[in-house]
Assembly symmetry: C2
Homo-oligomer: 370 residues x 2
């Protein structure tokens, strides 16, 4: 396969199983990308991510631009070499963080001026600047610089913002000159079907190797996203990967795959792991609970991860309660293993024509409280 080539291998109703070729190898969808915000997936070594089965990870343009800076990373051979990861990397455009983390934003047609959330330094990102940063990082998949519309917003705000995101996308396409990287456009348009479809038409009229759905995880009730995706996701180009940005829980992933989305990233599995919340095939576990004090059993008897194979719930609770770094490590290993296994099983279920049964079983399991 050539870089950028995307082949749908299996379909089950709207759900798809496909492959995409990148400059650092092929990835198979549906796929979950762990988030390596600052050139590390928190607590994890690259080899541990590979052992779990991850094929691609995400780096954050905004964070890496601020520290240590993309020029330093470029000088040291690019993000892959810097962080010792030789598989594909997708970088976001910085748009989401500029709108969620930075202070004193000023938005113009040219771009966004803002102050760093770390030291207050005045910074400017435009579509061209975002492309330059991502090319310097050496990302395999580069995301367009878009405006992330806040929730709620008026129809006029949404329309105006989506139009600008479209104009910015054309500037991104002009500026993205790295031959072996793949530029993905981002559909915005808020939570209404009509405005979302209008943005989709605009964004997908620009010929690109992939498209994303953005503008979620901004405080909206999550069922609104799922209702919308059910109506619009399958209308995205069928012969291109469809990436749902920044989402979500195991239930969210299942529903989004069911609507026809292919690619996912989210900080949830790693972040909640550090806070002692663990996803299992019997539901969500809060490890600090007193009932686990003397529990000699593994977190999840159906799980083959390193944590479940070697440690008791009593030990995991002890590590969490004493604030040990090993708690974050063992919990992160488990949650990432769980997410990857969920996605692997999703692929198999689509391949084997049992997606509906698998989906229903997952949704029932994930609503349990063990």
């Amino acid at each position: 396969m050539q870089v950028g080539e995307f082949k749908v291998l299996n379909e089950y109703k709207k759900a798809r199983n496909a492959v995409l070729m990148t400059a650092h190898g092929q990835i198979e969808t549906p796929i979950f990308m762990p988030v390596g915000t600052k050139a590390t997936v928190k607590t994890m070594l690259p080899e541990e991510l590979t052992d779990i089965g991850f094929q691609i990870l995400l780096g954050n343009t905004y964070h890496l631009h601020i520290r240590p800076g993309e020029k330093l990373i470029k000088e040291l051979g690019g993000l892959h070499k810097f962080m010792n990861w030789d598989k594909p990397i997708l970088t976001d455009s910085g748009g989401f963080q500029v709108f969620s983390l930075s202070k004193l934003r000023t938005l113009t047609e040219e771009g966004v001026t803002f102050r760093s959330h770390i030291d207050g330094a005045k910074l400017f990102i435009s579509p061209e600047k975002s492309m330059e940063i991502q090319m310097d990082l050496g990302a395999d998949i580069i995301m367009a610089f878009d405006e992330c519309i806040p929730y709620p917003a008026t129809p006029e705000q949404i329309d105006e913002s989506s139009n600008m995101t479209h104009r910015w996308l054309k500037r991104c396409q002009q500026a993205m000159t790295k031959k072996d990287s793949l530029l993905f456009g981002i559909v915005q348009g808020g939570l209404e079907e009509k405005s979302r479809l209008k943005s989709m038409d605009q964004i997908c009229s620009v010929d690109l190797p992939g498209y994303a759905m953005g503008g979620f995880s901004v405080g909206e009730p999550i069922h609104l996203m799922h209702q919308l995706l059910e109506k619009v996701a399958y209308k995205m180009p069928v012969n291109k990967p469809r990436y749902l940005m920044g989402v979500g829980t195991p239930t969210d992933l299942i529903l989004a795959i069911d609507s026809g989305m292919d690619m996912f990233d989210c900080v949830i599995p790693t972040r909640v792991a550090r806070n002692g919340t663990l996803y299992t095939w019997q539901g969500k576990v809060t490890i600090k609970q007193a009932k686990y004090r003397t529990d000699p059993n593994p977190l999840d008897p159906e799980c083959d991860c390193y944590t479940c194979k070697n440690y008791s719930k009593a030990y995991l609770r002890h590590l969490f309660n004493t604030g040990e770094i090993l708690s974050s490590r063992l919990n992160t290993i488990h949650n990432l293993y769980f997410y990857n296994k969920l996605i692997e099983r999703s692929r198999e279920a689509i391949r084997n024509g049992i997606w509906d049964e698998f989906k229903d079983d997952c949704l029932e399991r994930f609503s349990r409280r063990p």
Copy 2:
């Protein structure tokens, strides 16, 4: 070899290379034991300790007694099973922590009443109680409960305290009924040769499988310890392991081995790693320094650890500056690897009759500032 058997294999002047058999296998001295305070060597998996080459680790009686409690650990199969470590474990007696961490201590002939540094709970440890805790934990080597004399102290205080430590040792010997565990006595006696030798006579008059030097790392100038060890360490029984408790830097280890000590433990390599200080064969490195910002080289070109084989100083500096957990992990891996390699090379140097050259080379290297 039988459990408790100790064989000196090689000697070079006062320095020794020996083996000691425990219920969980043999260890070879000189040996460094990483500290697993709360049933984990901070940031590390047991397998990673084994890969580095560690043969034994240390657990802290005081900390484990407070959280999660030795009865819970016993119920779950002992400390080895609880923390997934099947090699030997040595536990300290709790004495050092009772005197350094706890609040409102009251010392009587019977034992020590004190308040937990975590929740202020009133607790009592006696020689018998310390033995019970360590037996419940299932330690292979159990340390006698002693009084750690503060520095400075008057000759009268030292004499009185050493006498009590001796009486307590006899009670420990009575109470330690676990057949396959080895009880080590602890020599106190302060920093004067005469009083230290008196305590040594008392402690070593109790027939035990090993003896330790305690009462250091209490704020005394370190050269006083080395001057004392040079004069007294070799007078400890030659056919028993000699353990220097809670010491020290790489330089301290070399000097203590040179004086005839065999076993060591210390939190230094793990603690300073988390604070960004790294031991190398070219001297001590402070990774946050600006001069490493763009440095593409490994921390130590003479080191074969995972960190040095895979990451640049620029990346290690970035991880430290952004407060990433991976910084603590990679730094700890390096420092522990360095400590173990230092000890392995010490054994070889004694074996090969080149200890003096090795010692001089180490002392010169460790005084450098790269």
